[in-house]
Symmetry: C2
Subunit: 572 residues, 2 copies
């Protein structure tokens, strides 16, 4: 295990010893991520920077906000958590992201991109108003530098009249390589560091510019951070660093995109739903030249790399710009194209207003492919995809589908291709191929018929398989129920629901219990004499852990569902 050093001990090390210590940290991270999974390349890239920060600055008195937060491992190893580092991302163990509840060294929680500079400015302003005296640092990757929030924060520096150290960790990568104009400006600054007018750009926003320095050189970092610390007395500072994502780990250096997120024991992630998306969309796009694909910096994880290779002119990775991507899709659809926007459930929250205002408000045929829906597990609160059914349930003109397996997901993609209105398909990371027939909009599917007075409506592969397990156990107890694949949240299968004669109606969904399928079914039967029970996720933020265990713990307990069914049967 790594020997954790405090600031005093770090200051006592010679530069040679510091280099060796950085290698020890690297080894610790590589081994732990191999065991626990996690973010590898991004953490390996900032070891020297973080060690230097902990020597030059006085945490937790000084505050640091990690943008996205996935690069905070070295920070955790230097803030009293080395002894628990082996529990990384395990239920009850250390989070892979900053957590205030975990340590006073974590002053602000992150997970989504682009918030750090805004947060640092807010913390610094609070410091000023409360008459306190500490330094505030925002550590931001160049991927987030594309995000609109960063620009809104830059715009505020003059307004807020405070001082923060904005460290731009420029490794040329988001999860995918960073793209766009902002990135090209940064690149040029790395090529021609003395070009005044780029520097002027940042000075206009109220930043003293320092750069470009080598973030992987511990000695250089110690000296530039000291300088930056001094400059803070005259206002905010932008420290532009060049680092190598995956530094010190040959495989990561060569494949930083494939080593951004690692599954435990070096096992590669199953990506079946995303693979199916890539396969189906590529097939459809060959017949229909109006199909285009848009991503926000996650092309590989979303399964669209091949589509991008086959149709380079019809595929757009716009960087971490979820809102812009949505408007872009709406506008392309307004002129006759057929856009598919693939994105993780939790990140689509960023485009909520554009889904309403641009896509659905104009009733445009954009298809949202919502990956990583439901409990995603090890990344915790900020990455669970458990609100999408709730925030999509009330948007007019939108169709929302939830496939029972990958085969049905393929059918839904085909269905959406000929559909002329907004369409959303939400699905988990992985599952089974299974079998499926062609799907009709707003039609559920009866998976198991029973003469009993109980009907179970389950949404999505995980909940259907949970329901099937319940059914197997129920059968052994001599109980039975009708099981329905409730594959549309909007529109509901009115005919099936109206014709359902069962008294007891049970819904199961891996989404917040508030605002999803349960509420929709309960609303449908409002004022009637059905006895309805909705199983969904509890009204709380779900921490990191193993998806099945979390799901069982936070509202989808097989035993509870089974025992409720027993009660219904008893009541008759």
């Amino acid at each position: 295990m790594l020997k954790e050093l405090n600031r005093e001990q770090l200051c006592a090390l010679s530069s040679q010893q510091l280099k060796e210590y950085c290698e020890d940290i690297r080894t610790e991270i590589v081994h732990t991520v191999a065991e626990c999974g996690g973010h590898l390349s991004s953490n390996l890239g900032v070891v020297e920077l973080t060690v230097a920060l902990h020597r030059v600055f006085d945490f937790p008195h000084d505050k640091i906000v990690f943008d996205v937060g996935h690069q905070c491992y070295t920070h955790k190893l230097l803030s009293g958590r080395a002894n628990r580092f082996s529990t990384l991302r395990q239920e009850g163990g250390l989070s892979g992201f900053p957590k205030r509840s975990e340590s006073e060294f974590d002053c602000y929680e992150t997970g989504h991109a682009g918030t750090a500079l805004s947060a640092a400015l807010g913390i610094a302003k609070a410091r000023d108003l409360l008459g306190e005296n500490y330094r505030v640092i925002a550590l931001v990757g160049d991927g987030s530098f594309n995000n609109g929030l960063i620009y809104e924060a830059l715009n505020s520096i003059h307004i807020l009249e405070t001082s923060v150290l904005f460290i731009l960790n420029d490794n040329g990568m988001s999860i995918s390589p960073t793209v766009g104009g902002a990135h090209e400006i940064l690149d040029e600054m790395k090529r021609e560091p003395f070009l005044r007018d780029d520097i002027r750009l940042f000075e206009r926003f109220g930043l003293q510019y320092m750069g470009v320095y080598n973030g992987n050189d511990i000695c250089e970092m110690l000296s530039v951070l000291e300088t930056a610390k001094q400059k803070l007395q005259n206002g905010s500072v932008l420290l532009h660093l060049s680092t190598k994502k995956g530094q010190g780990h040959p495989f990561c250096e060569n494949a930083p995109d494939r080593t951004h997120g690692i599954s435990p024991h070096g096992g590669t992630k199953k990506k079946e739903y995303s693979v199916a998306l890539g396969e189906e969309l590529t097939k459809l796009a060959k017949e229909n030249e109006k199909i285009v694909a848009v991503t926000a910096a996650m092309t590989d994880a979303l399964g669209l790399r091949n589509f991008f290779n086959v149709f380079p002119d019809r595929a757009f990775d716009v960087g971490i710009c979820e809102e812009h991507a949505s408007v872009l899709c709406a506008a392309m659809a307004s002129q006759g194209l057929k856009p598919y926007y693939a994105i993780y459930s939790t990140f689509l929250q960023r485009a909520f207003d554009e889904i309403i205002h641009d896509v659905c408000g104009q009733d445009l045929p954009v298809t949202f492919c919502i990956d990583r829906a439901g409990i995603t597990g090890a990344d915790g609160e900020t990455h669970q995809g458990v609100f999408d059914l709730s925030y999509l349930s009330f948007i007019p003109n939108l169709t929302v589908a939830i496939p029972k397996n990958i085969a049905e997901f393929r059918e839904l993609i085909k269905l959406s291709a000929d559909y002329s209105h907004p369409f959303a398909i939400r699905y988990p990371r992985d599952g089974a191929e299974g079998r499926a027939n062609a799907v009709e909009i707003g039609k559920f599917e009866i998976l198991h018929s029973s003469l009993s007075d109980i009907i179970v409506l389950a949404a999505g592969e995980r909940c259907i398989s949970l329901a099937e397990n319940v059914l197997a156990d129920a059968n052994m107890q001599g109980l039975d129920f009708t099981l329905v694949n409730a594959r549309f949240l909007r529109p509901l299968d009115r005919e099936l629901l109206q014709n359902a004669t069962q008294k007891y109606v049970i819904t199961i969904e891996d989404n917040a219990a508030i605002g999803g399928l349960g509420d929709a079914i309960n609303r449908f039967y409002m004022g009637g004499n059905k006895c309805i029970k909705a199983f969904g996720l509890n009204d709380t933020f779900i921490p990191h852990g193993e998806p099945r265990a979390l799901s069982q713990k936070f509202g989808l307990s097989k035993e509870e569902i089974l025992s409720y069914i027993g009660k219904c049967n008893a009541r008759g």
Copy 2:
């Protein structure tokens, strides 16, 4: 009435005749806005520009996207709608914003800030892929130039490899004066038009820069637009114009902020709720120095001008940056400040992810003062505040309150000051002061008790007064019901609901019927034997019109509620 001229006729006019025609348009706009209300200053500022655009470009073959869209009146007067212009913003009449259903000259709908450049890029890309040949223009005000979406779009220009004409209409104003670094850069460009490095900034993003030109000079506009049209063959162009908001109307020129939005017949808007917010917050802030206020370019409309004057160091207008404002509040709260973020209901949709990720995810004591909730009327689809209860209903850690009148709104503001968790208060633009007692979190109030078997739960002033009207009529028919002020969506008053003995439970809310109070109450009683009926707004986008009429037409019909109550009584 204005004599509408087509492009050919415009081209036939001498420059003197063009100037006179612009004055005729101005007169038409001033008179119509005096009658119908609407956006005055912003439209007066772009008359010459719009006339020149209609002469130089070939609409609707060429396409123009109006950012926000409130400055499209001259465009409407020149695109076959002059004869209906007197119906502006009236139910069934012309919308105050671009509407595809209204004219093929309106290619893309807007209402919220910052979408136009993204939309123009999407339209242009569709044009390229479909092998068509027309020009695409985005007309953007400098207020929107602060918004993150614009930056995300700028970042995409290199990625999309297409060509659009980005006209920056720089009048130094949002609704309030424009603020921040981006604005200072533009200002400097106006002072020193030949400073190369500002120009380089835009060139880096892939824009050919032209500027700064006088947008109120019709002759200058004709010539620069011709030049811009030529330059489009070599890629995208940024045309930077300086215009005067309210041009040609002395009062507007002097008070562009107070003439941004005008109520009919020159009547000034009632702003009672916002006035109360200003009064209470200023009072509280005198006792509690931790209170700060944040707005996104709407300080006056939100009633906080006086607070800003009294506490300049504790008040922040960050420009049209709804997301940044939310993160800023979360971060200030994380260090012990007590932020109040005042914003319109529809614009808060932009900060949806930050409400979840930054404020509620960290359970921070930020208070959202959500103005213009419910049907706002004349601005139509993009400005109705009818989704907030739905998108706030499922966010953990959040308390959501809905005052019955302004007096109770004051009590809720006081309550929130001592509350250490996220707090949202949603309220309409105007209402009655009324009376109210101190409020407890999660406690409803019984307004009228009855022995009948019917209980009505109404949320907010408008729905409570609707319910009171229903009660009066019901009483005349010998019917009666218990009326409750359901002033908390989260948490519900469990005790009152559990103890309610009535069989018939009716909810009334001026929010989408999906996802709001009705669903919450129905969920609370799930599986029980209550007979529940929820009255809310229909599952559709609500167009412009008079709020009462719209509300009656789209789901809150007094007659329907009354007749349902009659039925309940009959069934007993």
